[in-house]
Symmetry: C2
Subunit: 426 residues, 2 copies
Amino acid sequence: MLNLLLQGGNVLCADGQVRQMDLAIEGSIITQIGTVSNTAERVIDCHNKLIIPGFVNTHTHAAMTLFRSYADDMQLMDWLKTKIWPAEENLTADDVYWGTQLAIAEMLKSGTTCFADMYFFMPEVAKAVAESGIRAVLARGMAGVAPTANQALAESENFYKEWHNAANGRITIMLGPHAPYTCPPDYLKKVTALAEKLGAQIHIHLSETLQEVSDCNKQYGKSPIALMEEIGLLDYGVLAAHCVHVSQEDIAIMKGKQVRVAHNPGSNMKLASGVAPVPDMLNAGLCVGLGTDGAASNNNLDMLEELRLAAMLHKVHRLDPVAIPASTAVQMATAQGANALSLGSSIGKLEPTYKADITIFDMQQPHWYPQHDSLSLLTYAASGRDVHTVIVDGKILLENRQLTTIDEERLLEEVNRRGIRLVNPV
Amino acid sequence: MLNLLLQGGNVLCADGQVRQMDLAIEGSIITQIGTVSNTAERVIDCHNKLIIPGFVNTHTHAAMTLFRSYADDMQLMDWLKTKIWPAEENLTADDVYWGTQLAIAEMLKSGTTCFADMYFFMPEVAKAVAESGIRAVLARGMAGVAPTANQALAESENFYKEWHNAANGRITIMLGPHAPYTCPPDYLKKVTALAEKLGAQIHIHLSETLQEVSDCNKQYGKSPIALMEEIGLLDYGVLAAHCVHVSQEDIAIMKGKQVRVAHNPGSNMKLASGVAPVPDMLNAGLCVGLGTDGAASNNNLDMLEELRLAAMLHKVHRLDPVAIPASTAVQMATAQGANALSLGSSIGKLEPTYKADITIFDMQQPHWYPQHDSLSLLTYAASGRDVHTVIVDGKILLENRQLTTIDEERLLEEVNRRGIRLVNPV
């Protein structure tokens, strides 16, 4: 007998087509798609629902939800120096646990089943992931210029050893050197040595702002991407966040080294970082997933917004109404996102043998009508708040819009208290 | 005794500040804001809710909801000629009625209390507005190059006489010459003569695409804005949709003639029209409201998305993180929108003597926490689907997310049947 049967939904199949069919789950795995006649412990009626692979958020700093709405509409360095960094100084391990739970609650409620995080107090993040049931790829952020530089390397190694492949494989670990402008070459060489030793991949911010690229060119005579190649960092499997200001030469290097990109259109817009050349990256055959970045610079963790922005921003930026069509944007938010996190053989598609990481949208709302094309409705009309049910690793974590593993009322009280304390320390 | 008392909500006051207070309504009017001790027929507990003036959608083609998701990711003229125009040929008066009801249902559920529409079969649109209880500024679209050019003028005059200030003043009428490229100067002079005769204002598309501006310059030796000035069209109170490709000289003309702008960032992005110089318009002191445009080019009618896009698109386009801050974007979606429709003395603000057109957001969701700043949460984190209650002209049209004047189930059935028939005529 099956554990779970999703009956009669509109299923986004691995070939990109949407078909009305059933989907069967045993344990953590999708076992059948089509007409399923087996009995099941639990049957969910999915008529007038759209069933897609859960969104994969390829870049965030989950606990920064605590700073949501604290400071906006400021110049970047002013914002970081007078607001975000001082507030982060006040963070405790407990704050990071609760801020991460808030992020997970928000992500599950808007259809995200897996996220890539870079922050600190990472064992607390792993604990929140393990408890909540979501999937995550975690990295301890490391800044070579900080007094904690060596401690961060040691913590990263311990964190990898303790948590890589933990929680039924839901948690994997990467190394998280923050960025070239916070990690000098000597430090990055220590990071690559650690990557070599552990067999770990790397999550890093690259070429986010014009200033960063210009400074890097002045200091090292080459772009951040070219500098990373020279250091050897690109040889260990790299997830590169942002890549806004990359040249054709940079893209060629990235292609050669199979660098995967986390594109964060919402953050890039709000922080005025610029528009990444995503159509060029896709044309070059790069893997590009989507990310929300942290909630201080977005200000939400709603992947459907990123999907829509990816489909719309590049159209207006290039004055090309066929740049990044709906189907491509949906792939970026799901299968390509899974590839970006090196999880493409187990999540990101609805196919037998894949993990049952699934998001179900309720289509019974005015903005989902008429129903000429489900993927167009998802991309250009739907809301993250239309998410009805979310399944991760075969377990229902959101059911009829209610979280099953998180006490939401207590969570919201906790984070409000903590958020206010962080920006007004006694 | 008051009709309605909103108790203890976070109220966006006319000075732009959010304060916890009560708001009292008698008949269609806001009568008190502050601490209200009167008894009321009906009290709504608004703790942990954000109360704002209802969104004003300054430009749409409501019944085009019927074409939502029918055709996307196409070149503009290909899209119009092979998809939209042929499908519009099949529209009946009944279709327009139902398509408009769908738009109204969607707008109410996402917090819009007033919209400016330009389409045809307009008496059906007025009927849908009157029945649903929403507020609207309606214009019969007129194309001077069409065989129906003179009929459209006659219909516009009759429509104005029959419906201007109807439905307790909820409906006002403008004249709707479509655009300079579909209305030659001689025809526009007939429109201005009719505006003069009726005392009617004008709703028109201006300078939406580069092609339009370039063609106008070739044909007439001046920009669409300058051509409209020469014709005298700008002397009658003009709501100009788009204004994407306007020069500093155009902006000076618009300022001189007090042209009000309907900025449609979502449509401009999806159709790759370009980025309107909104910060320049605002610096020049122009009135700029926000609009969704029709659902075929957006593809939803969610004003909160437009508000967010307005706050984010201009930041990235100008690489300026302080372009259009949250408070300005909220004003554009409310008070400035009301001004754009010439309704600024009666709607768009929460103040005694103003009409009770009110949208109430439920803040009890993870993406609304922590609550450092309500306007930032609204602008950068909230969803149109967080709208809990909507009041228009003192009447509750959405209550706990349920429409009170529209049978939603029947509506969705109707529009799906009609939408499919329109694109697959027998």
